[in-house]
C-alpha cells in the first residue's frame, strides 16, 4: 500500500471549514437557544457548541491527520480512544447521576 498524498485543495477546504466553524460557534454562543421540555431545561447552546467542536475535530482527524487515507489498524486505534472515553464518562456518570435515588441506609 503506497502512501496517499492529500491534494492542497483539500487542505485549503478543511482550513476554511474550520474557520467557518469557529465563527459559527462564537456567533451561536451569544444567542439563547435553551428551551423548556416538560420540567427539564434543555441546554441547547451546549449541544450546538459541542456539535460544531466534534465536527471540526472530525475534519482535522480525517484530513489533516490523514486517517481517511490510513490503514484499518489506525482506524481501530483511533476508534479505541473514543471507546475508552465512552467507558470513562458512562461509568462515572452512572454513579453521579444515580446518587440519592435510594434513601440513605438502604
Amino acid at each position: 500500500m503506497s502512501e496517499h498524498i492529500v491534494p492542497v485543495r483539500v487542505y485549503v477546504t478543511i482550513f476554511l471549514v474550520l474557520l467557518v466553524g469557529t465563527v459559527l460557534t462564537v456567533a451561536a454562543a451569544f444567542q439563547d437557544f435553551s428551551f423548556q421540555f416538560g420540567t427539564h431545561e434543555i441546554p441547547f447552546n451546549t449541544i450546538i457548541a459541542l456539535t460544531i467542536a466534534v465536527t471540526k475535530a472530525t475534519f482535522v482527524v480525517l484530513y489533516f491527520m490523514h486517517v481517511r487515507y490510513s490503514s484499518r489498524l489506525v482506524w481501530v486505534i483511533v476508534t479505541s480512544a473514543l471507546f475508552w472515553m465512552a467507558i470513562l464518562f458512562a461509568l462515572t456518570f452512572a454513579d453521579y447521576w444515580t446518587r440519592g435515588w435510594l434513601p440513605v441506609g438502604y
Binding site: L18, A29, F33, N45, A57
Partner: protein, 246 residues
C-alpha cells in the same frame, strides 16, 4: 503490500535494521504515534470529565467565571491554532513532494504561530493574575479573591456572579481552567521544541519524499493539540455568554 519496496536495490540511510523497508518503517511510526495519542486523549479525557461533572453541579458559577474570560483573545487564539494546523499539514505535503524551501517555510510559520498562541495565553494569564483569579494560594501574597461587581455595575475586571453562584465555586472553575489550559500550553511548548528540531534537520535536508516520518508524526501531535483547543475554547470561554443579558 511490499512489492514496490522490495525492488529497491539499496536501502535508505534512515532505515532501521529491524524494518524491511521505508514503507513498513513509516507505517509502524504512524501507528506508534496514534497509540501515544490515545493515551493523551485519555489524559485530557480525565480533565474533561472533571469539567463536565462540576459544570453540571455548579452551572451558574461556571457561567459567571467563564464570562470573565476574554472571548476576543480566545477566538483569536483559536484562529491562530487552526492556521498553524493548516501550515503543518502543508509542511507534510511539501516534504512528501520533495519541495525543500516551502517545507522549511511552512515549518517556520507553524512554529511562529505556535509561539504567538503562547504569547497571547501569557497575556491572558497575566490579566487573571492581576484580578486575583489564580486559584488557591499558588501565588504568594495574592490568594484567590477577585472583586465582585454589584448588581447593574459594569466593570471589566470585577466578577459578575450570576444566580446562586458563590466565589468558592468560581474558584473551582479556575482550578479546572488553569489545569486544562496549562496542560494544553505545556503541550504547545513541547510542540514548539519538536518543531525547532524538525526545522534544524529540514534545513540540513534530511527529510524528503523517501523519508518524512518525523515530519508526519510530529504533525499528528500538533494536530492533536489543536483538537484539544477546539474543545477547550467553546467549553471554557463560551459556556455562559447567552446569560450575559439576563
Amino acid at each position: 503490500m511490499s512489492h514496490a519496496a522490495t525492488q529497491e536495490t539499496h536501502s535508505h540511510p534512515a532505515l532501521q535494521h529491524h524494518f524491511e523497508n521505508m514503507e513498513q518503517q513509516r507505517e509502524a511510526g504512524t501507528l506508534g504515534m496514534w497509540v501515544f495519542l490515545v493515551t493523551e486523549i485519555m489524559f485530557f479525557g480525565g480533565m474533561f470529565l472533571a469539567y463536565t461533572l462540576y459544570r453540571g453541579t455548579y452551572g451558574a458559577a461556571f457561567a459567571s467565571a467563564s464570562n470573565h474570560l476574554d472571548i476576543k483573545l480566545g477566538a483569536f487564539n483559536t484562529g491562530v491554532l487552526i492556521l498553524s494546523s493548516f501550515t503543518m499539514a502543508m509542511a507534510v505535503y511539501f516534504t512528501q513532494i520533495g519541495k525543500s524551501r516551502p517545507q522549511i517555510f511552512c515549518l517556520l510559520l507553524t512554529l511562529i504561530l505556535g509561539l504567538t498562541f503562547l504569547g497571547v495565553k501569557a497575556v491572558e494569564y497575566k490579566s487573571k493574575y492581576d484580578d486575583s483569579l489564580v486559584p488557591g494560594r499558588l501565588i504568594p501574597n495574592r490568594p484567590f479573591g477577585p472583586e465582585v461587581a454589584h448588581e447593574g455595575e459594569l466593570s471589566e475586571h470585577k466578577l459578575h456572579l450570576l444566580g446562586n453562584a458563590t466565589l468558592k465555586q468560581v474558584e473551582l472553575f479556575y482550578w479546572i481552567y488553569f489545569a486544562m489550559t496549562g496542560m494544553h500550553a505545556l503541550h504547545m511548548i513541547i510542540g514548539a521544541g519538536l518543531l525547532t528540531f524538525l526545522l534544524i534537520f529540514s534545513i540540513k535536508g534530511r527529510y524528503g519524499p523517501e523519508y518524512h516520518s518525523p515530519v508526519e508524526v510530529i504533525g499528528l501531535y500538533w494536530h492533536f493539540v489543536d483538537i484539544v483547543w477546539i474543545f477547550l475554547f467553546p467549553l471554557l470561554y463560551l459556556l455562559g455568554r447567552h446569560f450575559e443579558h439576563m
